[in-house]
């Protein structure tokens, strides 16, 4: 038996070589039907996510006093907020494109479901972000949200009035999960390529 059959690293290497050759991972050509602006929104979402993460790192480093009181801090705070708006807007337009193009066809259901997960967890990221502002807005949201969360029983371990817990979830846990899922989503897209438009399948 070869080492590819006996060791997990060998089997993994063979799997990657078979399913994701480098010409699929980093293609320099695309099928002719990809020649449309509607295919740009996925990468636009990722570009916005990079901006969200970069501004978030700066905000986390300098802290709430800086982002509330200094001009540069408020500027970075605004960039973080607006890049999140762009992230969600592009993600939803990307969702419309995939929904109306039935992007889950031909073995791509997993890719669709990972996208659904990214959307859901991004909403948690947004809510914990609103709770982490450390201003009257976040207090108002937290005081109102606690009743909704408590009514589900989730308040016993997810306390929206605990700023430390919300900030920790917002800056560590949720970004790590979103980033990992985005990488998985991208790899799944690269493995199967862009789905053919409806009506082109028979050709």
């Amino acid at each position: 038996m070869t080492s590819e059959q006996t060791s997990w690293t060998g089997r993994l290497r063979a799997l990657v070589d078979r399913e994701l050759p480098t010409e699929n991972l980093l293609p320099d050509e695309q099928p002719i039907y990809v020649n449309s602006w509607v295919y740009v929104f996925g990468v636009a979402t990722i570009a916005a996510l990079v901006w969200v993460l970069a501004t978030g790192v700066v905000l986390a480093f300098f802290g709430p006093q800086w982002w509330h009181l200094s001009g540069v801090g408020r500027f970075f705070n605004s960039m973080h907020f607006w890049s999140v708006q762009a992230f969600f807007a592009f993600m939803v337009v990307h969702l419309w494109v995939q929904y109306f193009g039935a992007g889950w066809r031909h073995g791509r259901a997993g890719t669709w479901m990972v996208g659904v997960l990214i959307f859901a967890i991004s909403i948690i990221a947004a809510f914990t972000g609103y709770l982490s502002q450390t201003n009257f807005d976040s207090q108002w949201i937290g005081v109102n949200a606690k009743d909704a969360i408590n009514s589900t029983g989730g308040g016993s371990f997810f306390n929206v009035l605990n700023v430390g817990q919300m900030l920790g979830i917002h800056v560590v846990l949720v970004p790590a999960i979103v980033l990992a899922l985005v990488v998985i989503h991208l790899v799944m897209v690269r493995i199967r390529g862009v789905v053919k438009p409806i009506g082109e399948e028979a050709q």
């Binding site: 050509e29 695309q30 099928p31 939803v92 399948e201």
Partner: protein, 57 residues
Amino acid sequence: MDSPATYLHWGVILISVPNLIVIVTMLVVFGLALIAPFPHRDVAPDADRPSQGDSEK
């Protein structure tokens, strides 16, 4: 910026003007993406290389 947003109210629909602007912008961008020509360079097809997406995996 710290003042409350203006809200529009039709029957059961209640939406702030900023949210309405974002949603309308998204719809306009989606519509434009469907009809606007995409710039591209013409490349001669390479017969030796399989084109991804052509196969129905």
